[in-house]
């Protein structure tokens, strides 16, 4: 399975998915742990895919999203960048409804 197919599979299976450096239990980068804390606040289930030692996946992700950095967040299969974007969306009240819709509580 190509990296792209694997990614597509993963974002389909997880309503909230963070591609980052390290794991949920042991994030290896400040931005990744910031993103984990961001979603911990909402209480919805989410997963973290560790891309630290997986250059093929990282390159595929960057190409698919045209976004240079990690972490990369997908909600309900759609790409939302990182906490820079999510913080601004949250300030405009756009995150709560998005998560509710993703988990079918719309």
């Amino acid at each position: 399975m190509s990296a792209e197919d694997e990614i597509k599979e993963e974002i389909k299976k997880n309503k909230i998915l963070i591609y980052g450096k390290g794991t949920k239990a042991a994030p290896q980068c400040g931005f990744t742990s910031e993103t984990i804390q961001f979603f911990n606040k909402y209480g919805y289930p989410f997963e973290v895919v560790n891309c630290l030692e997986n250059m093929t996946k990282r390159e595929a992700l960057s190409k698919m999203t045209n976004w240079p950095t990690l972490p990369k967040v997908f909600i309900d299969g759609k790409f939302y960048g990182d906490t820079d974007i999510l913080d601004e969306m949250e300030a405009k009240g756009e995150v709560e409804p998005l998560l509710k819709a993703a988990f079918g509580e719309g």
Partner: protein, 78 residues
């Protein structure tokens, strides 16, 4: 490493009316918090705003002048 005036110039090259505030987060001149305010963001959602700012910084990110950029965007009066 990049000097803040050069970083601001990079953004204003693509977004001429941009008011840019850049803060050197670590003192190493390669990890910045960048606030950009521009009328061009009015009809754009948060993702589009960030992609526009990112596009100004791509070259500097690729050649290492900028290691990390935390971007915040706003429209005048927001």
């Amino acid at each position: 490493m990049i000097r803040i005036p050069d970083l601001i110039a990079l953004v204003q090259k693509e977004i001429p009316d941009a008011e840019v505030n850049a803060l050197d987060k670590t003192g190493m001149s390669d990890h910045f918090i960048i606030h950009v305010t521009s009328k061009e963001f009015v009809d754009k959602d948060v993702m589009e705003r960030h992609r526009l700012v990112q596009s100004c910084l791509t070259a500097a990110m690729q050649d290492g002048r900028i290691h990390a950029a935390e971007i915040k965007t706003a429209v005048p009066g927001e």
